[in-house]
């Protein structure tokens, strides 16, 4: 029996800056997970990941991460992905600098 598919976002790091980005519905990359496309269908998600992986001139290491729909858009479900959306806890560096 195959596992039930849980909603995903496609994420990667930008080639030049190295910062975390998420794939949006229009196929661009956003530094804000809330702007990501939440993929609820496994076949769709696989196609979007393939598309992301073909953009190696823009991003590195694309993968799917679990997410849930929040009031403002997708939110991470795991603490690892939560760190990627904000930055480290010891300094106000990374994305949280501009929040």
């Amino acid at each position: 029996m195959s596992r039930v598919f849980t909603p995903k976002v496609v994420t990667a790091n930008r080639l030049i800056e190295g910062d975390a980005v998420w794939l949006t519905e229009d196929g661009t990359w956003s530094p804000d997970i809330a702007e990501a496309e939440l993929l609820e269908d496994e076949a769709d998600a696989d196609l979007r990941l393939l598309m992301a992986q073909s953009q190696s001139d823009l991003v590195v290491g694309a993968y799917m991460a679990d997410a849930v729909a929040g009031p403002d858009g997708p939110e991470p479900t795991h603490y690892r992905e939560a760190f990627r959306t904000s930055g480290p806890s010891n300094y106000r560096h990374g994305k949280q600098e501009t929040l």
Binding site: N13, L15, I16, E17, G18, D19, A20, S56, D57, V60, G61, T77, H78, Y79, R80, F83, R84, G87, P88, S89, N90, Y91, H93, G94, K95
Partner: protein
């Protein structure tokens, strides 16, 4: 101090130029990421959670003030104004942009530094006792040998694609401050009949399968060091497993084949290659020994130092904790703690690096060391200069009096930065340090080494912490496992797991219970945490940790 030869300088510049061209080809699309990744890793460039990370080698932990200033410049210009010193005597920059990295490498090359072989399945930065060349308890300075190994291993054509990474540590002192027993090869200087040589340990390592290194040769004459090391790496290169990443380190090779068979194969290979070493290495070693000659120090007294100690209890506390005996009377090794409670272990700001460089120039014969415990050492300071040095450190936020104490915690970057991490480690270290600062018990507790890793790979050396903490992901929740009784010195031991782990909110109180139990259990204040644990075993500590009756826990 040793300086690059023209050959070294040209080699490093060439490598930087080569990497610049590789970055250009990656950015213009001529190289795919799959093609580029091994090239960037060979130059110490990782991709982490929020950004790239550049790991720069500080060979055997030794720096001069110009090098430290250049690290400060790099931190300010291309990073976010700080650097992170690691447990393998490297420095990591957490925020470089890919296009800037060639410039950063050029800036490093200007001061004889590089990031070559700080990643990949190669021989990594050779580490050494951070008190080398100064400590009173030393047979001889291990750094000439470490530099010889660095030159031999850098770009060694046979050893660029080993089964897995390979780490060598050297100590010249019977008191092992270089964790040699937890390295792929550990070299401990020993004397036999007045002749200096090495005890050679092989197959130590932490990570997923922690092992204490085994003696493969109890006395190796100094002249045989390079061929013998080459024989070990050569045997490993052939025998080491390439089918399973988790079984690829030499510790598994030694475990699977046995130390006797390993020793037989190494001796066989050694006999084969020894004739190829016709003395050039020894000529070079003699030159290196001259280059590492200690600064001219003469014994002296320091009445001002004693007067300040008598008058200023804060200064006295710092000097009791952060100074180590130097071999020349009237001098000391000063350990500068990068562990002020609440700070990130091992981090120094660019300003602090500049202060340290200035102080090394003014009071420390232009020398600095980075310890595997993520602190900075000024190895040659006259006692007479200590009051002024201390005041300058204090002004820069670098006067924490906690070397070897509960808040002098080793912690890897953990999930705050690292792509491999399974849990955060920095906030755990910060909270433990702040809690014990609040309790005002640190000096009462005495020597205690807490080491925290944010994943099984054990960069935070948790297996050899008196109290080790390992952060794991258990079904999407951070969980911290505790080990007790680990030891990274000459009496090395792997810590023993206490039992079920603790959540992020439970871990600090759990550590506090262990330390309070120790205070109750010790026979006298001189009995350290480790000694008490060795006398009593796990039982009473486990009872305190899990708040059960001692009888149940035994």
């Amino acid at each position: 101090m040793y300086h690059y030869s023209d050959f070294d300088a040209e080699f490093v510049r060439d490598r930087t130029a080569q990497f610049r061209a590789q970055v250009d080809r990656r950015l213009d699309g001529s190289l795919t990421e799959d093609e580029f990744k091994p090239l960037r890793l060979m130059n110490g460039l990782y991709l982490q959670l929020h950004a790239y990370m550049l790991r720069v080698a500080i060979p055997y932990g030794t720096l001069n003030s110009a090098q430290m200033r250049q690290l400060a410049m790099i931190a300010g210009r291309w990073d976010k104004g700080y650097g992170h010193f690691t447990t393998r005597q490297n420095i990591q920059f957490n925020w470089p942009k890919l296009k800037d990295v060639p410039d950063m490498l050029d800036a490093l090359a200007e001061v004889g530094m590089h990031a070559i072989q700080t990643s990949g399945n190669t021989i990594r930065n050779v580490t050494a006792d951070h008190f080398a060349g100064a400590a009173a308890d030393e047979i001889a300075d291990p750094r000439p040998v470490a530099e010889l190994l660095r030159q031999w291993s850098t770009d060694h054509p046979e050893f660029q694609f080993l089964p897995r990474k390979f780490k060598i540590a050297v100590t010249g002192s019977p008191n092992d401050r270089a964790v040699t027993r937890a390295h792929d090869i550990g070299l401990r200087m020993v004397e036999r009949d007045g002749e200096a040589g090495f005890e050679v340990l092989v197959g130590g390592g932490l990570g997923r399968t922690p092992m204490i290194g085994k003696v493969v040769r109890d006395f190796l004459p100094k002249a045989d060091l390079l061929p013998y090391t080459e024989a070990i790496v050569s045997v490993y290169n052939r025998l080491g497993r390439r089918d399973n990443k988790y079984k690829a380190r030499i510790k598994i090779t030694v475990h699977e084949h046995g130390i006797e068979e390993m020793s037989r194969l190494v001796e066989e290979r050694f006999a084969e290659i020894r004739p190829n070493f016709q003395g050039i290495d020894q000529t070079l070693l003699t030159e290196l020994e001259a280059a590492f000659a200690p600064p001219p120090l003469s014994p002296q007294t320091a009445p001002d130092y004693e007067a300040r100690r008598a008058a200023d209890p804060v200064f006295r506390s710092w000097s009791d904790t952060n100074l180590t005996a130097h071999r020349v009377p009237g001098h000391v090794l000063v350990s500068v703690s990068l562990k002020a409670p609440g700070q990130t272990p091992g981090d120094a700001t660019a300003d602090q690096m500049r202060v340290l460089a200035d102080l090394a120039e003014r009071y420390g014969h232009d020398e600095l060391r980075i310890s595997h415990e993520q602190n900075v050492v000024l190895p040659h300071v006259a006692e007479a200069d200590l009051p002024a040095l201390y005041d300058a450190l204090r002004a820069a936020g670098l006067a924490a009096a906690n070397i070897g104490l509960v808040s002098d915690i080793i912690a890897c970057p953990g999930m705050d930065y690292c792509a491999l991490a399974t849990a955060p480690s920095i906030p755990v270290a910060q909270q433990i340090a702040l809690r014990f600062e609040e309790l005002q018990l640190e000096h009462e507790i005495g020597p205690l080494k807490i080491k925290i890793s944010g994943c099984i790979n054990a960069c935070g050396h948790h297996h050899v912490g008196h109290i080790g903490i390992l952060g794991l992901d258990r079904a999407g929740v951070e969980t911290y496992q505790i080990t007790l009784g680990g030891d990274g010195t000459e009496t090395a031991a792997i810590g023993e797991r206490t039992g079920p782990g603790f959540s992020a909110t439970e871990i600090v109180p759990a550590v506090e219970r262990l330390v309070m139990a120790y205070l109750d259990l010790r026979e006298e204040p001189e009995e350290t945490f480790l000694a008490t644990y060795r006398r009593l075993g796990m039982g009473p500590f486990k009872a305190a940790l899990y708040e059960t009756d001692r009888a149940d826990a035994a």
